[in-house]
């Protein structure tokens, strides 16, 4: 989620080769992933017990791959220590990388790692993994006893974590971080100027001239990665048109994008662009975040990893404060907050030591592990109470936002379900933010793209019920 698409030469060359540089097209890399003998799974295993619910074999080894992005990888090393304390005779081979897909995808069909954190810009497409049977359902992890608490693992998770990791009725992806999205502002600045943080679009448009009068842009956005503005657009659609509208969109229902309230949610964005309330320039995520920290703009929308990502350059006295996305009068679900679990671990179906992988997940989701996670990353873990002992203003504002949240968490599946619609919605979001599309054109084009996917028989369809 929080990852800059940075590159190194090796990866790029590899990617270039894979994408078919002329002389030897895709072939070279493709052949590397060709199918062969599936790894033999020796099922003898160890004895199962409350402390070892999956029957991990003593003396075995488990290979864990961690995504080393905005959250770093120190927390995972802490989890390793927790795991080793209970299972001293199991070898943990942990490595961390930003290039999950580049390094893990070629191994998936033959000799994968046991536990892979499938996260970041270079992650493997989740629907493809599931459709190809490449990752293991982990429903038994949910029913296993919690590592260091009462009840089962499922009991310790924050709302939404199980459904975020579920597809086609099975639980596949164990998200370890919990993210809240919204509009960020500098509370110290607002106090100094006597500005009130808006909760509705009308309040924002009333405040905007005052911000402009201070020589500041009211809003700054990431103009390079379309999934940034898309969070805000989709959250607005949920608030305005209600949960069912987004569920229909995700399920590719006929005319889902034309439902009542969808257009209304996008019109304020069209107005924001037309009224020139955006900071000029086409900045990427860190550039726009830095511009916001430099006081060039009053608001930016992004998730709670912001503080960790920008920690090196936050000016003294700057109070990062998260507020909910703005709503309109008459919205169907104005109080629902965009929050959810992210940073998902998966266990490849052909992993040689799946039992140990699941046991390691249990350690990650432990009380001790999640507390370390929140402490080190300044982000909430996907387990209950991880942030209780962390003192931090950004984390506190996110907690406060969650306390006042409506009955449902905003969640959108369409970009996990369909790569085509992922790309299209990113592109169109940026077109809307660049003022090259009106809200109406955005809706029409998304509808057309959804219809095209619905008709395409080469794409496997997904459904969500809740």
């Amino acid at each position: 989620m929080s990852v800059s698409p940075d590159l190194n030469r090796r990866t790029l060359l590899r990617r270039a080769a894979a994408a078919g540089l002329l002389v030897t097209p895709a072939a070279g890399l493709l052949s590397a992933c060709a199918g062969s003998e599936p790894a033999k799974n020796d099922d003898t295993g160890g004895a199962k017990s409350k402390d070892n619910p999956f029957g991990v074999k003593d003396g075995s080894a488990v290979k864990v791959v961690v995504f080393n992005g905005g959250l770093g990888d120190q927390w995972a090393k802490e989890d390793m220590a927790i795991f080793k304390a209970k299972h001293p005779n199991i070898t943990v081979n942990m490595s961390s990388t930003q290039k999950i897909k580049t390094e893990e995808q070629p191994k998936m069909a033959t000799q994968p790692s046991d536990l892979v954190m499938n996260s970041g810009a270079d992650s493997m497409d989740r629907s493809t993994l599931i459709n190809e049977g490449a990752i293991e359902p982990l429903d038994d992890l949910l029913t296993a006893p919690a590592w260091d608490g009462e009840g089962t693992v499922a009991d310790t998770l924050l709302p939404g974590t199980v459904s975020d990791g579920t597809q086609n009725g099975k639980f596949y992806v164990v998200n370890v971080a919990y993210t809240v999205w919204g509009n960020w502002y500098n509370a110290a600045l607002f106090k100094r100027e006597g500005w009130q943080a808006p909760t509705t679009w009308d309040e924002f448009f009333a405040l905007a001239p005052k911000i402009k009068a201070k020589g500041m842009a009211p809003y700054v956005h990431d103009a390079v990665h379309g999934y940034y503005p898309r969070w805000a657009l989709m959250a607005g659609i949920w608030k305005s048109a209600g949960k069912q509208a987004v569920v229909d969109i995700d399920n590719l229902k006929d005319n889902a994008w034309k439902a009542d309230g969808v257009l209304k949610a996008l019109e304020p964005w069209e107005k924001l662009v037309k009224d020139k309330l955006l900071l000029p320039g086409k900045l990427d995520h860190t550039q726009s975040q830095q511009a916001w920290l430099d006081g060039k703009a009053a608001f930016i929308q992004v998730g709670t990893w912001l503080k960790n990502e920008m920690s090196a350059t936050i000016p003294p006295g700057f109070e990062l404060t998260l507020s909910d996305y703005w709503s309109n009068p008459g919205d169907k679900a104005a109080k629902d907050v965009y929050a959810g679990s992210g940073e998902g671990f998966v266990v490849p179906s052909k992993a040689p030591n799946k039992e140990a992988a699941k046991e390691f997940l249990r350690a990650i989701l432990s009380k001790a592990g999640s507390a370390k996670f929140a402490e080190l990353t300044k982000s909430l873990a996907s387990t209950k109470g991880s942030g209780d002992n962390v003192q931090d203003s950004a984390l506190a504002s996110a907690n406060a936002l969650m306390k006042n949240a409506g009955p449902d968490l905003i969640s959108v599946k369409i970009w996990d379900f369909y790569a085509d619609l992922d790309k299209e919605s990113q592109n169109l979001s940026e077109e809307l933010m660049a003022g090259r599309l009106t809200a109406q054109q955005f809706v029409d084009k998304m509808q057309a793209a959804a219809d095209k996917v619905a008709k395409d028989s080469s794409i496997k369809k997904q459904t969500r019920t809740a």
Binding site: L7, N8, R9, L12, R15, A16, A18, A19, G20, L21, L22, V23, T24, P25, A26, A27, G28, L30, S31, C33, A34, G35, S36, P38, K101, Q105, M108, A109, M124, D125, S127, T128, L129, N131, E132, G133, A134, A223, V224, H225, G226, K276, P280, G281, K282, L283, Q287, A291, A419, D420, D422, K423, Q426, N427, L428, E430, E431, A434, R436, S458
Partner: protein, 313 residues
């Protein structure tokens, strides 16, 4: 052949040929094989679908767009790179004053050679990252900052560079900005190539021309260019390959790798999307195979057209 020579030659060639067959020809064949399946890339399940992928490819709008963008590069990259490289090579070798010592390049040509060649020693990704700073789309960018300071660009409306899909001469602006980088980074190498070729042209040919009163313009078009024909033609083929690739620049520099809104989509970015994001390796292989066929045909055509009698000095 004398006894033993055949065995000697075979002994030397067997290993490289085997390596070549295994690592180049065999993957080629495999890619062609995958292109007839619906393989997703993450499992060992695949179904034979015949030519379905190729039929689908013909009606894919994105591929049509990518095709025309590649054609744009195919025309412009060789044209501008060779023109610039020829001009530089000419100036550095024979463009200077002629005196008793004979024909020479412009003053300081040794230094210029190093400077112009420099981009060639940088990896393409380094170049792309460097140009990201040059092209940065606000007042902190090198170009924007400068132009805003001297008042040529409005601070409220900086140049968007690779984030600009608006057409210029009918082609999205982002492609022109990428073209500039490609030409800048490629011209140095071909300058050296042409310099070497020019140095093999005997000086007395030039001297004779100058004695007959030919100026720089005429020496270049009547003597240098015709005698460089072979080298230029080879350069054209190489640059054609580069133009059909362009992946690194598009991948690093454009929003959503082919954007904004598909304005810089090329074959390689479409292959990348289908294989690695959409999980349709079979279809991606079909595009790659088509691209390979297209490239081979193009190279053959190119060499055929430019083939001519060699001139011996």
């Amino acid at each position: 052949m004398r006894h033993g020579v055949a065995r000697f030659v075979t002994g030397f060639l067997a290993l490289p040929v085997a390596l070549y067959l295994f690592y180049v020809v065999w993957p080629f064949a495999q890619a062609a094989g995958y292109s007839l399946t619906d393989w997703g890339g993450y499992s060992d399940r695949q179904q034979f679908v015949g030519l379905d992928n190729y039929v689908r490819l013909l009606s894919d709008e994105l591929i049509r767009k990518a095709f025309w963008h590649n054609v744009f590069f195919l025309v412009t990259v060789p044209l501008f790179t060779i023109a610039l490289a020829l001009l530089l090579a000419f100036l550095l070798n024979v463009g200077g004053r002629e005196d008793r010592a004979g024909i020479r390049g412009v003053f300081g040509s040794g230094l210029y050679k190093v400077i112009f060649f420099f981009p060639q020693v940088l990896s393409l990704v380094v170049i792309a990252v460097m140009w990201q700073q040059i092209y940065r789309a606000d007042g902190q960018g090198l170009i924007n900052g400068l132009l805003i300071k001297i008042g040529l660009v409005d601070a409220d409306n900086p140049i968007a560079f690779t984030n600009d899909p608006e057409p210029f001469l009918g082609v999205p602006a982002v492609l022109w900005w990428l073209l500039l980088i490609a030409v800048w980074s490629g011209a140095g190498f071909y300058m050296v190539l042409f310099s070497a070729a020019m140095q093999s042209i005997p000086k007395d040919v030039y001297e004779a021309a100058i004695l007959d009163g030919a100026g720089r313009f005429h020496t270049f078009f009547r003597i240098t260019l015709p005698l460089l024909r072979d080298t230029v033609s080879v350069a054209w083929v190489y640059l054609g390959f580069i133009a059909l690739d362009m992946f690194a620049l598009v991948y690093v520099m454009t929003p959503s790798q082919g954007g904004p809104n598909h304005a810089s989509e090329i074959f390689a970015s479409v292959i990348n999307f289908n294989a690695f994001q959409k999980g349709q390796f079979g279809y991606a292989c079909a595009i790659a195979v088509s691209l390979a066929i297209f490239t081979i045909l193009l190279a053959a055509l190119q060499l055929r057209i430019t083939r001519r009698e060699r001139i011996e000095y």
